[in-house]
Amino acid sequence: MARYAMVTDLTRCVGCEACTAACSAEWDVPPGHARTRVLPTGPVGEFPRLRAAFYVAQCNHCDRPPCVEACPSGATFQGPDGIVKIDPKLCIGCGYCIPACPYDARYLNPVTQKVDKCDFCAARLERGQLPACVTTCTAHAKFFGDLEDPNSEVYRLVYGRGAERIESDEVKIGPNVYYLGTRGEPALVREKFAPHPPQIPSSGQWWERVFKPLAFLMAGATFLGQAIAFFTQLRKGESQFDE
C-alpha cells in the first residue's frame, strides 16, 4: 500500500496563493474558508539579517491523527494509504474534530454544515491525476508522491535532501507533509506556527470527564441492584410478595 506524502519547497514558494485558489475551485470551498492556506511568517530577525518564509498550511494526514479519535460518528477515518478522509454522509457537523487538529486544517462548511479539509485530492488521485495544488503551483514548489516508492520525487526530497516535518515538543504525531528549506525556513515556520496540542470543545470534555463515567456508573448500579434482587430471589424463593 502506498504511503502518500507531500513536500513543499519553501525556498521556491512565492506566496502567490494559486494553490489556495485552485483547491477552492476544485472542492467548492465557500468564501472565507480554505483547505490549504498560505501564511506569511513576516520578516524575522534584525536588519539587515532579515528572514521570511511562506507557510503553506494544509492537512498533514498524520500517522496518529487526533481528529479521528475526536470524531464521535466515525465520519473521519484514515484509509490504508494514510489519507485522512471525511465521509460527508456520516458527518453530523458537531465540530469536535476542528480544535482537535494541531494544525487547524479543518473548517465547518457553512453550506453543507459538514466539516471539510484537504484529502490530498483523493478523487483526482483515483483518476490518476495529481492534487490540484501541485499541478497549479506557479513556482513548482509542491511535490506529491509515495514515500514507499524509492523512485519517487518525494522519497528523494525527504530522505535525500532532508525535507522536514513541522512538529513541536508536545505534538509529534507523524505529519506526512514535509517542508524543504536551505536557509532554515522550516525552523522559522515551526517557530511562528507551532502545532498546538489537540483540544476538545467543552461539551466533549463534559462527556469525557463527567457524563460518560456517570452513565457507566448508573448502568452499573442498576445492573448490580438487579443482580442482588435476582440472587435474593434465588435464595429466598418467590416469597417476596407474601403478606
Binding site: 466515525g74 477515518f77 454522509k89 462527556w207 460518560k212 456517570l214
Partner: protein, 428 residues
C-alpha cells in the same frame, strides 16, 4: 398456578382488562424501535474516545447494513418514524391518554408509592419484612421508570433531530451529541430493570402477558395492584347497579373503531391518507407511488429467469434487466408487496376478506372473469404505452403537475365514461 390457588382460593382465574390495544401496539412499536436504535446506535459510535461497544460488534452490525452511511440512514429513518408516531399518539391521545392515564396514573407518585419503594428495596436486601403498601394500576417502580422515560424521550428526539439535520452551529450539535448519549444511557439503565422484570422475574409474568392480551388475572391484580383492583371492583358494582352512565368513546377507541368499521371510509379521509402517503414517497424516495411499473419489473424478472439471453438483448426488456442491478431492487417492485400487505391488513381489520366476484346483476360469474381478463389486457397494454397507470402517471404525475399526466387523466376518464355508456349492460 397451583401456588396462587393455595393462598388466594377466593379468586378464580377470571381475567380483567388492564391495557387498551392502542397502548399494547405502542409498547411493542417502542420495543422494536429501541431494539433497532440501540443496536445501530451502539455501532455508530466509532472512535475510541466515545465507543462503548467492542470493535468486533461495530464491524458485525456495519456488515449487516453494508456501509456505515446506510446504517446511519436506517438509524435516522427509524428515529423519525418513532418521533412521528409518538407525536401522533400525543396529539390524538392528549385528553384520554396523556392527561388522564399518564399524568394521573403512570407518573404521579403518592405517599404509598414512596413507602413501597423504600420497603421494596429493604426487602430485596433482606433488611425488612414489612408488608408492601397497596399500589395503583402501576407500581412505584413502574412509575419511576415512566417518569424517567417521559423526561428523556423529548431530549433524545430533539438532540437526534439536531444531529440528523444539523440544526444550529457546531457547539449546539456538539452538545446534542452529549445529551443524546446521556439521555439514552439513563433510559437504558431503567430499561434493564424493565426488561428483567417483564421477561425474567416470575412474579411479573402476568404483566408480560398483559402486554399481549391486554388482560391480567384478577388474583394478580389483587396482590400487586390492590388500589387499582378496588377501583375496578367499584366500577363493576356501579355498572351492575345501573348507576354508571356509559362513558363517551375515547379518542384512542375512536381510532380503533374507525379501523374496525365495516363501512368504507369517507372518500376525503382516504384522500388525505393517500395524499400524505404520496407526499411521503416524494420526500423519502424522490418519486411518487405506482403500480404498473412494479408489474413490469416482476414480468421482466420472470422473463430473465426463463430466458436470460432474450431478456438482455430485447430492446424493451433490456431497459429493466441490467447487469449489476437486481431487477426487483426497485422502489415500485418493493412497494407493490407493501400494497398487497396494506390492502390485506385493511380488509382484515374491517372484516372484508371474502372470496367473491364483483359483477353487475346481469353478468354470469364466468363471463365476468373473462371480461376482467380482457380489461386487464387492455389496462396492462395501455399503462405501458403511456408509461404509467392511474397511480404512477395520473396520481404521481398529477401531484408534480406533469402535463402528460393531465392529458392521460383526461383520456382515461373520457374513455371510461364513453365505455360506461356502451357497456352499461355489464354493470347496471
Amino acid at each position: 398456578m397451583s401456588e396462587q390457588a393455595t393462598y388466594l382460593p377466593a379468586f378464580s382465574e377470571r381475567m380483567i382488562k388492564k391495557h387498551h390495544v392502542a397502548i399494547m401496539l405502542l409498547h411493542w412499536f417502542n420495543a422494536f424501535v429501541w431494539l433497532a436504535e440501540l443496536t445501530t446506535g451502539a455501532a455508530l459510535i466509532q472512535s475510541d474516545r466515545f465507543r462503548f461497544a467492542p470493535q468486533w460488534y461495530v464491524e458485525l452490525v456495519t456488515g449487516v447494513f453494508g456501509t456505515r452511511a446506510n446504517m446511519l440512514r436506517f438509524h435516522i429513518a427509524v428515529g423519525l418514524t418513532w418521533i412521528v408516531v409518538l407525536a401522533v399518539y400525543g396529539i390524538f391521545g392528549w385528553r384520554t391518554y396523556l392527561r388522564e392515564e399518564v399524568l394521573k396514573r403512570e407518573i404521579a407518585l403518592d405517599r404509598d408509592d414512596v413507602n413501597w419503594l423504600r420497603i421494596r428495596i429493604l426487602r430485596l436486601l433482606g433488611r425488612s419484612n414489612e408488608p408492601l403498601p397497596p399500589q395503583g394500576i402501576y407500581n412505584a417502580g413502574q412509575k419511576l421508570f415512566a417518569l424517567t422515560v417521559y423526561a428523556m424521550v423529548p431530549l433524545i428526539a430533539i438532540s437526534g433531530l439536531i444531529m440528523a439535520f444539523h440544526w444550529g452551529p457546531a457547539s449546539v450539535v456538539g452538545w446534542a451529541v452529549v445529551v443524546h448519549f446521556l439521555a439514552v444511557a439513563v433510559v437504558v439503565s431503567g430499561l434493564m430493570i424493565h426488561v428483567y422484570m417483564g421477561a425474567v422475574f416470575p412474579e411479573e409474568k402476568p404483566a408480560f402477558f398483559s402486554m399481549i392480551t391486554g388482560m391480567v388475572p384478577e388474583s394478580y391484580a389483587y396482590r400487586h395492584h390492590r388500589k387499582w383492583w378496588e377501583e375496578v371492583k367499584m366500577l363493576e358494582r356501579k355498572r351492575a347497579a345501573g348507576e354508571l352512565e356509559e362513558a363517551a368513546p375515547q379518542a384512542s377507541s375512536r381510532v380503533w373503531a374507525a379501523l374496525r368499521a365495516r363501512e368504507y371510509w369517507p372518500a376525503y379521509w382516504a384522500a388525505l391518507g393517500l395524499g400524505l402517503t404520496l407526499l411521503a414517497a416524494f420526500l423519502l424516495v424522490g418519486q411518487g407511488l405506482g403500480a404498473s411499473g412494479g408489474f413490469t419489473r416482476y414480468l421482466a424478472f420472470l422473463i430473465q429467469l426463463v430466458a436470460p439471453g432474450y431478456a438482455a438483448s430485447h430492446p424493451y426488456w433490456s431497459n429493466y434487466v441490467q447487469a449489476g442491478r437486481p431487477v426487483l431492487m426497485d422502489f415500485l417492485a418493493l412497494e407493490l408487496i407493501g400494497v398487497a400487505l396494506g390492502g390485506l391488513v385493511s380488509g382484515w381489520l374491517a372484516g372484508r376478506l371474502r372470496w367473491t366476484t364483483d359483477r353487475g346483476p346481469s353478468v354470469p360469474v364466468r363471463a365476468r372473469w373473462a371480461l376482467a381478463f380482457a380489461g386487464g389486457l387492455l389496462s396492462g397494454f395501455g399503462a405501458r404505452m403511456a408509461r404509467g397507470c392511474t397511480s404512477g402517471l395520473a396520481l404521481s404525475g398529477g401531484a408534480t403537475l406533469s402535463a402528460g399526466a393531465f392529458v392521460f387523466m383526461l383520456s382515461v376518464f373520457a374513455a371510461a365514461f364513453a365505455g360506461a355508456y356502451l357497456l352499461r349492460r355489464i354493470w347496471l
